[in-house]
Amino acid sequence: MNWITNYVRPRINSIFSRREVPENLWTKCDECGTMLFHRELAENLNVCTHCDHHMGITPRARFEALFDGGIFVDVKVPAPIADPLHFKDQKKYPDRMKAAQKKTGEKEAMLVAEGEIGRTPVICAAQDFSFMGGSMGMYVGNAIIAAAQRAVDLKRPLILFSAAGGARMQEGILSLMQMPRTTVAIQMLKEANLPYIVVLTHPTTGGVTASYAMLGDVQIAEPNALICFAGPRVIEQTIREKLPEGFQRAEYLLDHGMLDRVTSRTKMREELIGIVRMLMGLPPAITGELPKPDDMPAIEKPKNTPSK
């Protein structure tokens, strides 16, 4: 028996434990603590299948689920000058940028894409909260201007998914100046009579809320998203009292007349297609199984892009 317990069993165990177990197969829901299988969670757009809690989602994952067949083309965003103030706190700003780029695999905190949703051509922009808190700096400003310009050029609606802690302090006043800059972009859309739909996701705060994220023709929010100008902690410190339950959450804002709708992420696509098609005067979307799109996405070739 000793031979079996002391030699064979450990060998068998070690063979099995040595087998590579991919990490992050399971994700714990921040809200209800349920362990969720990664594939199931991704299929449900990072919404907990148990308690419907909306967890963060990257712009790319969102776009893959949003656009027909997961096909979209990135809209080119002009690069701003890097680190205009030579900002340094405990870390240098360029180092923080590099860390964020490594962590997310993205260039910056906003992704702009063109493609079709329910066979409706649109431009979409989404902010990436995992990239330095989605903060609005010159790049995000340029991204919104590029998105609006592209929408005007192609006469398409713009759908913007906001998520940000606010302005990017490391760009100082130039981040603040993205408030008027992005407002100009939204005005270009409005002058062209093109729909501008804002989907506010958790969290959208500060200067972002006080500019492009509040200027939509239609304002939709994801459930329980924190949406505010000043954060709850700042307010509690100022007025020295506890804030009511659900304060500054999407449903609270809906009650106070600040939003048109609160819509679950899993139903968002359908809803956006409906709204955009009505505002564009298009016939109802065809529901049900659509034939797979052809190899090439049914979108115009972007101008000024050199062929590969």
Partner: protein
């Protein structure tokens, strides 16, 4: 009696001594202290020049917040005639943190709007320390619309720590009000001139300062966040406001390099509060020059110029 800032303490001592000497001399006629007092005066004024020659960004913040600095109200009563305050946002309330109304500037009818911080405990509370609620911005939107309709140039005076972070303000849409105010600034087809007279605090300032011409007083500041707020977020220590003020580049001089403000208005030696009349006069001169610069532009041109000014921002950074 001047209120001295912390870094002005050595100056306070010298000026205090001179004052004391003169007081003694007044009681005792035989004493002749004038020469000594004059020497102290000279020393004080030299020190003042020395102190103000190169104020650090954090010291500038303190000067910009000096309680005796001329406020919106002071500029309006000195530079404008027939000021007729107009109140209320027509939706919910009147907000005393924002003053606004019709007035004449050099006899020309204009709309003037600005943040008012108040000048004593009572008025500071009434004015909510210059922190506007949504109603303040909505009133400003209403007045800008009126100015646009009747072709009156708009002059805004910016002096706010920021928009008020309160429960009601949030419930009534602080962010929406600021966004719409900025939007309105970009839409009006009349000249829009903005002067940052003290603190340009974040979104609360942008809502008024999205203008054809932005001028800043020499020791005023304009920033995305207060140095204290920035320090507590990035340094995790609100006491690091000096470092934060340095890093944020919030002085009129740095911002002019970035193209945020078009001109810097010189202040009297030792800051606007040491010679309020002179400071107010310089602001008046700057406003009339800026109005003249814009007088010939059509409505379309004004809108275009304003848009272009902001779209072009960020094309140049600061020298290393």
């Amino acid at each position: 009696m001047t209120q001295y800032l912390n870094f002005e303490k050595p100056l306070a001592e010298i000026e205090g001594k001179a004052e004391e000497l003169r007081a003694m001399a007044r009681q005792n006629e035989e004493m002749d202290v004038e020469q000594e007092a004059k020497a102290l005066d000279k020393k004080a004024s030299d020190l003042l020049v020395e102190l103000y020659k190169s104020l650090t960004p954090w010291r500038k913040c303190q000067v910009a917040r000096h309680p005796e600095r001329p406020h919106c109200q002071d500029y309006i009563s000195a530079l404008f005639t027939e000021f007729t305050p107009l109140a209320g946002d027509r939706n919910f309330a009147e907000d005393d943190a924002v003053m606004g109304g019709l007035a004449r500037f050099n006899d020309q009818p204009v709309m003037v709007i600005g943040h008012e911080k108040g000048n004593d405990t009572k008025s500071r509370i009434e004015r909510n320390f210059g922190m506007a609620r949504p109603e303040g911005y909505r009133k400003a939107i209403r007045l800008m619309e009126m100015a646009d309709k009747f072709g009156l140039p708009i002059i805004t005076l910016v002096d706010t720590p920021g928009a008020y972070p309160g429960k009601g303000a949030e419930e009534r849409g602080q962010s929406e009000a600021i966004a719409r105010s900025t939007e309105k600034c970009l839409q009006v087809r009349v000249p829009l001139i903005s002067v940052v007279i003290g603190e340009g605090g974040s979104g609360g300032a942008v809502a008024f300062a999205t203008a054809n011409r932005v001028a800043m007083l020499e020791h005023s500041v304009y920033s995305v966040i207060s140095p204290e707020g920035c320090a507590s977020i990035l340094w995790k220590d609100a006491e690091k406001m000096r470092e934060a003020a340095e890093a944020l580049r919030l002085t009129a001089q740095d911002l002019a390099q970035l193209g945020v403000n078009d001109r810097i208005i010189r202040e009297p030696m030792g800051g606007a509060h040491r010679d309020r009349d002179a400071a107010i006069k310089s602001v008046g001169a700057a406003i009339s020059e800026m109005l003249a610069e814009l007088a010939k532009l059509s409505g379309d041109k004004l809108v275009q110029q304003r848009r272009k000014k902001f779209l072009d921002l960020g094309s140049k950074g600061l020298a290393a």
